[in-house]
Each structure stands twice: as structure tokens, then as C-alpha cells.
């Protein structure tokens, strides 16, 4: 077993459970289960978190605890430090348990790996050697899609979760995603937490325009304004692009800002963003047009969004569930959705164009 006394992150490793020799992970897991007959192991997916930041270790460990309480999985936590020198790997195993029906205990396995200096091949080998067979692989790739995000790995991923809010250069990352999806023949299911952040706003919007009078006013919409917290510009752009596209708009390359032209004629739709320093990722969405308006807004800390609409004399006031905010909730929300969605992927080209306007090309 490697001696790691000098590692500055050693304290964080102590939370990862029992350190075991890499070659003995399966054997040690078996022992872990044999030690307690009362525990039932449950697993529906392989869920891997990949990170290159030691600082994320403690947070990810806590996250897995929350996620496995909701979603039975084999959890793999991979911390890759692209250091120089000889490749080196360490492994830890842990059981994350929760009571079930008051009597029994249901547990998920957590396998944590620290990979130093090994590169893409090492990451692949570790992931592929420790999957629960026949179960799909869901990977949450934290941060930049580095060179370790390479085809042999991405082609085995059923669902890739990313968070575009954490990207320093969204243009480059979106290009990598578009490329990976193309190479997979459209099969790679990509989920972006920034897109999930607007899920309930979109539901509320859809519910609000179930009202036939409100629905009839849609062709009059001219302005889409979104207020978002600092760091959540991509979430706001995605939401704006989606609303404009659903209204039949195409981003007009000739006009400045975000102007969408309606294929069916009618007024152009402009999308404007307002950034505020803090608070919920998405704070309001307002739609305006001749003789109509609809505002979906959320007060800080409220679990609900308020929908307030008016068309002439006709008024609407409703509340709907608000979007979840914590990473555990966002990931849980993704894992609850079986079957995948191609919607985000179809939004990527439009998003790329909009992000490009901000000047990252």
C-alpha cells in the first residue's frame, strides 16, 4: 500500500472510508457486505463523479451521501491530479446506508480513487475495471472537459452530466460536447445542470400558457427579459433561447444583441439578460408584448415561483414549484428522469452562437 503521509489532502482522504489496495477493491467490497447480513445492496446505475480539484473532495463525498439516499447506485468518485511523475493510484471503499421500511438497511457502495499523473488511459482503466456490470454509466464531469474526457471513455457513457456554470470558457466546452455527441451518432445523452436550473420555470411557463387567452397572446411577445445571479449567464441564455425558439424565433445573425426573427412573421423577439450579484440562479423571466405581459418570479428562499400574467383585462396569478438549487437536488432531479432528453442537445448550436456573441471565440 502506498504511504501517503506527505499528501496535503490526506485529511480529506480520511473521510472516504477504508483505504484498500487497488487490486483488492472487489475482494474488500465483498468482505464489507459479508460482515453485515442485515444490509441489502441496491444498485440501478453506475454513478461516477469525476473531478480534478482536490478541494472538491469533501463536498463530493457529502454529495454522494445525499444522492445515494435517493438513487440506488454504485458510486465512483474519481479525483485525478494531472501531476508530473510516475502514475500512482489509491482506492477507498465505503458503504452509504439508509434505513428502509424501518427495519432493514439499504446500502450503496462508494468507491473512491485518487489518480496522480496518469492521464486519460489511467482514468479509463480505473472506471472500466470497477463498474457494476450491465448497469448504465452516468458520469458527472465537474469543471472543464479536459483531455481526460476522451473518446474511449465518452463512448461508454450513457449519460454525461456537466455544469456549464462552472466553465471558464463555455465556447470551448460546448464545442467539445457537440463533437462528442456527433461522434456518438447522437446517442450521448448530455445533461447540463444550468438547463436543469430552469426546469420548473419552464414548467410554470408552460402551465401559464395553458390558459387559452394567454396562449392566444403568444404571437404578440416582443421582449424576453431574464434576471439571473452572477455566474448563471449560461442558464439564462439557455432559457431565453428556448423560449424564443418555442415562439418560432431564429437568432438573427445580422442584428446586435440577441434578436430572434419569427419564421412565421410578426414582431422580432429580443432576449435581454440582467445580472445581479447574488441569490437564486434564475430570479425572473418576463415576457412582454402589445397588451400582454407575463412574469415568473421567485423571492429568495421561496420554494415557489409566482406567475403573474395579464392580457388586457384578463389576469392570472398562480404559484408553482420553484427550481431546486443545491447540487444534490439538481443531480437527483436528473437521475429521476429516465429515458434521457434530447432537448438540451438540440439547444446546443443556438447556445453556442449566443455564447459566441459574448466574445469568447
Amino acid at each position: 500500500m502506498p504511504t501517503a503521509a506527505a499528501d496535503p489532502a490526506e485529511e480529506a482522504f480520511a473521510q472516504l472510508g477504508m483505504e484498500v489496495p487497488l487490486a483488492q477493491v472487489d475482494k474488500e467490497l465483498k468482505k464489507l457486505w459479508e460482515a453485515d447480513n442485515a444490509k441489502t445492496r441496491a444498485s440501478l446505475i453506475n454513478f461516477a463523479i469525476y473531478s480534478e480539484e482536490v478541494a472538491n473532495l469533501g463536498r463530493n463525498n457529502a454529495l454522494l451521501d445525499g444522492i445515494t439516499a435517493q438513487h440506488a447506485c454504485r458510486a465512483l468518485m474519481i479525483l485525478s491530479r494531472p501531476t508530473d511523475g510516475e502514475p500512482r493510484a489509491r482506492a477507498w471503499i465505503n458503504a452509504l446506508c439508509r434505513p428502509y421500511h424501518g427495519q432493514q438497511t439499504v446500502c450503496c457502495e462508494q468507491l473512491s480513487f485518487l489518480l496522480d499523473g496518469g492521464g486519460a488511459a489511467q482514468v479509463q482503466n480505473i472506471v472500466f475495471a470497477h463498474l457494476d456490470s450491465d448497469l448504465p454509466l452516468v458520469v458527472w464531469w465537474q469543471g472543464t472537459l479536459t483531455r481526460n474526457f476522451e473518446e474511449r471513455l465518452s463512448s461508454r457513457i450513457a449519460t454525461l452530466i456537466v455544469d456549464s456554470a462552472t466553465w471558464a470558457n463555455p465556447c470551448a466546452e460546448i464545442d467539445v460536447l457537440i463533437d462528442a455527441r456527433e461522434r456518438s451518432g447522437g446517442k450521448l445523452d448530455i445533461r447540463d445542470l444550468s438547463w436543469t436550473r430552469s426546469h420548473f420555470v419552464r414548467l410554470a411557463l408552460a402551465a401559464c400558457f395553458q390558459d387559452p387567452i394567454a396562449c392566444a397572446s403568444l404571437p404578440r411577445i416582443e421582449e424576453i427579459a431574464i434576471r439571473h445571479a452572477k455566474g448563471h449567464r449560461v442558464a439564462a441564455l439557455l432559457l431565453g433561447a428556448w423560449v424564443a425558439q418555442r415562439l418560432g424565433g431564429q437568432l438573427d445573425d445580422r442584428l446586435p444583441g440577441f434578436q430572434f426573427q419569427r419564421a412565421a412573421g410578426g414582431p422580432n423577439i429580443s432576449v435581454t439578460l440582467e445580472e445581479v450579484p447574488s441569490g437564486n440562479a434564475l430570479q425572473s423571466l418576463s415576457l412582454k408584448g402589445k397588451d400582454m405581459s407575463a412574469v415568473i418570479s421567485r423571492d429568495a428562499d421561496s420554494p415557489y415561483v409566482h406567475v403573474c400574467g395579464s392580457c388586457g383585462d384578463h389576469r392570472q396569478d398562480e404559484i408553482f414549484p420553484a427550481d431546486v438549487e443545491t447540487e444534490t437536488e439538481l443531480i437527483s432531479e436528473q437521475l429521476s428522469r429516465a429515458g434521457g432528453t434530447t432537448l438540451y442537445s438540440t439547444m446546443l448550436p443556438a447556445l453556442r452562437k449566443m455564447v459566441g456573441r459574448a466574445g469568447c471565440d
Binding site: 441489502t40 440506488a72 421500511h101 420548473f200 400558457f209 390558459d211 387567452i213 418555442r246 398562480e318 428522469r337
Partner: protein
């Protein structure tokens, strides 16, 4: 009318259309325990349509405020996702009370005025869903007066639908009359007969299990299946005054005609051509129509066992016999246990018996379906006699602890080649942590969205009653009625029910 473009691509589930729901019998137990918490939880999931309203219709005098306060207290107690004051406050704004006797036309006229007023405030005519949460004897006057008040048809292209609670009739004649009454007011396509068993996740999963897994369907016939058992056991008796209703119904009418026949149809039906409500229900009703009728006391004696419990103990607690229960006639001839051997006369099921049992005061609460496969033609291993008798069994647990288990035979570790039974067990709640919606949530959402797949259609109900009526006739109208058997509370039913299977060389599954 313009389509809502935001709907598209966003939803995997049915979307409720904007509507007003009128509940007849809104001060009753069902509304407080099930309906309002279900609507509230639909709202909590963001699935309630905009400008939703509930109007409670009952005869006691009360204001909207009092009605809302009573429902709030009930929601706090029964809501699956807890109670949030902010959400309740908005939700409750849409709740109103309308005082009227069921038999008073004026009450319906004033209801219409009230509903029209809401439509005006809303700026559009709304769809209307009428929910009959009243005793069945009121269905007729309610239907008639809804029609007379002109409430049974939606205005301006909007819909009007009716949801009927069980019991839907007490025999074929009364069910047909009830259906005629309902269909004189609402089209069959607008009639939603609730069977809450169909709203349960695991009941819906039967179709998925059968038709999404290539493994099972090719074996799902008389070549590979020996028999099927459906058990619905309750460990309660007549607590809470339920003896009053139960003694007029009995296990056959209260459970078999509706819930268990629905499960039976899902297990035995042919694959539907598509998942539309009528395709699925077409196939389900064929199963009921293909049930071999049990005509005359002799056929009934041979294939059906009825029983009442006598004193005994469940979970260590002493229980009185059925006839000593509160509100039960001491000379009652109502069965609280019934076991049946049913044959389905189709190519697929020729020669495969379906055994059904349902009863009160049994050792535990469980509703399960088990499919028992045939034994291999020859077992070349040295096995014990006990194992020679065991077969592959697929168990679908409907409630509680929903899940699926498969019993298979494996080699026991050791030098000898001996064989042992093992069980592969899937539990919904340990694999899918998040709680499933209540059956009523799913069903109300479907009714508001116009999807009748999980509701019983007229022909399903009537054909089921036709079959049940023959048994009732043999029990209650023949000169040599089959005996009423007895079992101690806390046992798995009468020995006669064991003998029903023993005569075929089979046994009830150990639950």
C-alpha cells in the same frame, strides 16, 4: 385554437387541462382523506392546471372559509408531501363550497350560476369535471339534475366529464341501470369509473413487465405457465364501523368484481395494438368475457369457496368472529373470504387455472400476483422430493412493499449436485428512493387530461358483474346453496380453500 408551444418537448406525462372540479359529497371522508390531498399534491408537483377550482357540493351549511379550514386540517394530516402554508394559501383560493341537497334542482341551477361566474372571472368557459363522491343511490338524481340544469355539456367546445366512485352497482342489473343513467347524461368517453388499484404503480407495471421484456411474453401462455394465483389479504376486520357497508356487499362484490378482475385482466390480456385507452380496455374486457361462467350451485361449489372468520388472533391481538363485529348482522350470510378457481377460455390460457383469494383478518396485509411456471419435463439431478415440487415463480407484489421477485433453482454449493430454491428480489422502494404518487393523484390527473386508460369502461364493469351474478345466485337463490365455511381470524383462510387447490395437485403460495 392555438397550441401551447411550451408544452411540446417538456412533458413525459399527461397534462391536465384547465378545469373546475365539482365534488358531490365534498364534506365526506373520501374528499378529506384522498381527493383534496391528491389535488394539493398535484399542485405541489406543479401539475395543476392554471386557474384551477374545486367546488364542494354537500347539504350542510357552511362558508367557503369554514370548508377551506376543514380541508386544510385534513390535508395537514393526509398529504403525502406534507403541507406548506404558502402553497395551501394559493391552492385554497380556488376552493369553494356550494350548499345543496343532491335531489334539489334549484341547487344545480345555482351551481350553474356559480360556475358561470367563475368562467366569467376567468375570461373563458372552463372544462368541468364532476366527481361523484356520494353513496351510489344518489348517482341517479345527481345525473338527472345535472342534465336538467344543462351542466352535462361543456360550453364553447369545452368538455364536461364525470368520475364515479365504487361501488359501481351491486349486480349486473343495477350496474346496467347506473350505466344507462350516467350515459344518458355523459357520453361513455366522458365517463371515468375509478378503480384505485389501477392507479397503483405496480398495477401499471404489469404491462411494462410483460410487454417491454422479451424474456416473459414468449413464455406467457399455457405451454409454460402452470397456473396463476392472485391474493389480496387484509389483516383487519370491520374496524371503524365499516361493517355496516361491508355486510351488504361481501368480499366477492367489494373486491373481486372490480380490483381483482382488473389485475386478472392485466395479467391475462393479449398485447394491445397501441396504448390508447380503448385499445388497452378492448383487450382487458376480452379476458373478462372469456372467463368460463360458473353456472349453478354445483359449478360454484366446485370452484368457489366462501367463508367467514370466527374468533382468533391477528398479530397476537384477540379478534372476535365476523358475526360479532360492530354493525354486522349476527345472522349474516355475507362472505368475508372468497377463493375462486377461474378458467379463461382462450387459446393462450386453455387449461391454466387462475386462483384468486381475498379475505379479511388474514395474517398479513398483502396483494400479490404469482405466476407459477411449469416444471421442466425432466430433472436430471438428485433432488429432494420437496424440490421436485417447486417451480419457477414470478411474483408481482402490488402492495405493500411493491416489487417483483423471481424464484429459480440453483445448485447448492458442495460436492453433491443438489439443487436449492433461491429468490431474486426487486423492491421498488429500495431501488427507487423517491416516493410514488398516490393512486388518486395519478387518476385525477388522467381524468383532467382526458386519458381513460386506467379507468373501467362500461363493458368491463357489466361483464364482470354478469360473471359475479351467477355465483351470487348460487349462494343466495338456490335450494342447495354451497356452504359458508369458517376460518379462525389470523389464519390463511378455510381448509376448504386449501382443498380447492389440493384437488388440482397444487398449493397456495406461502406469503
Amino acid at each position: 385554437m392555438m397550441e401551447n408551444p411550451f408544452q411540446e418537448t417538456l412533458f413525459q406525462r399527461n397534462r391536465a387541462e384547465p378545469c373546475t372540479v365539482v365534488i358531490f359529497g365534498a364534506t365526506g371522508d373520501l374528499t378529506h382523506r384522498k381527493l383534496i390531498p391528491a389535488f394539493y399534491n398535484i399542485a405541489a408537483c406543479g401539475d395543476l392546471p392554471p386557474q384551477f377550482k374545486v367546488v364542494g357540493f354537500a347539504r350542510r351549511d357552511k362558508s367557503d372559509e369554514v370548508f377551506r379550514a376543514e380541508l386544510e386540517a385534513a390535508n395537514r394530516k393526509h398529504s403525502r408531501q406534507g403541507h406548506n402554508d404558502e402553497l395551501w394559501a394559493t391552492f385554497a383560493q380556488g376552493i369553494h363550497y356550494h350548499r345543496s341537497e343532491f335531489q334539489d334542482l334549484e341547487g344545480y341551477k345555482s351551481l350553474k350560476v356559480q360556475l358561470d361566474k367563475y368562467d366569467q372571472e376567468r375570461g373563458t368557459a372552463a372544462n368541468r369535471l364532476f366527481y361523484l363522491a356520494s353513496a351510489p343511490e344518489f348517482f341517479e338524481p345527481i345525473m338527472q339534475l345535472l342534465r336538467e340544469a344543462g351542466l352535462n355539456e361543456g360550453a364553447d367546445g369545452k368538455w364536461a366529464r364525470v368520475v364515479c366512485e365504487k361501488p359501481f352497482g351491486k349486480d349486473f342489473a343495477s350496474a346496467r341501470k347506473l350505466n344507462d343513467t350516467v350515459n344518458a347524461t355523459f357520453d361513455e368517453a366522458d365517463t371515468y369509473r375509478i378503480d384505485h388499484y389501477l392507479g397503483k404503480e405496480t398495477a401499471q407495471n404489469i404491462m411494462v413487465l410483460r410487454f417491454a421484456n422479451a424474456l416473459f411474453e414468449p413464455n406467457w401462455n399455457n405451454r409454460y405457465i402452470d397456473h396463476v394465483q392472485i391474493t389480496c389479504a387484509e389483516n383487519l376486520g370491520m374496524e371503524g364501523g365499516r361493517g355496516g357497508y361491508y355486510d351488504t356487499a361481501g368480499a366477492l362484490r367489494d373486491m373481486v368484481q372490480n380490483h381483482l378482475f382488473q389485475l386478472l385482466s392485466l395479467v391475462a390480456m393479449e398485447p394491445p395494438t397501441d396504448l390508447s385507452a380503448d385499445s388497452v380496455r378492448d383487450e382487458k374486457v376480452k379476458v373478462i368475457r372469456a372467463l368460463r361462467p360458473l353456472v349453478g350451485p354445483e359449478a360454484v361449489t366446485q370452484n368457489v369457496v366462501r367463508a367467514q372468520y370466527c374468533a382468533g388472533s391477528v398479530d397476537g391481538v384477540q379478534r372476535v368472529g365476523y358475526r360479532e363485529e360492530d354493525r354486522v348482522n349476527p345472522e349474516s350470510k355475507t362472505e368475508c373470504y372468497v377463493a375462486l378457481r377461474l378458467m379463461i377460455d382462450t387459446w393462450r390460457w386453455q387449461g391454466v387455472p387462475f386462483y384468486i383469494r381475498v379475505g379479511k383478518q388474514l395474517p398479513k396485509k398483502a396483494t400479490e400476483i404469482s405466476v407459477h411456471f411449469k416444471k421442466p419435463p425432466q430433472v436430471p439431478f438428485a433432488t429432494s422430493k420437496m424440490l421436485l415440487n417447486s417451480e419457477n415463480t414470478l411474483v408481482i407484489r402490488i402492495q405493500p412493499d411493491e416489487g417483483i421477485a423471481l424464484r429459480i433453482l440453483c445448485k447448492q454449493p458442495g460436492q453433491a449436485l443438489s439443487v436449492q430454491q433461491v429468490k431474486m428480489d426487486f423492491h421498488y422502494s429500495s431501488s427507487f428512493g423517491n416516493a410514488s404518487p398516490e393512486a388518486y393523484e395519478r387518476l385525477l390527473l388522467d381524468a383532467m387530461a382526458g386519458d381513460a386508460t386506467l379507468f373501467a369502461r362500461r363493458d368491463e364493469v357489466e361483464n364482470a358483474w354478469k360473471f359475479i351474478d351467477e355465483i351470487q345466485k348460487a349462494w343466495h337463490k338456490s335450494d342447495n346453496p354451497p356452504p359458508m365455511c369458517e376460518y379462525p381470524a389470523g389464519s390463511w383462510g378455510p381448509v376448504e380453500a386449501d382443498n380447492l387447490l389440493r384437488a388440482d395437485g397444487r398449493e397456495w403460495r406461502l406469503l
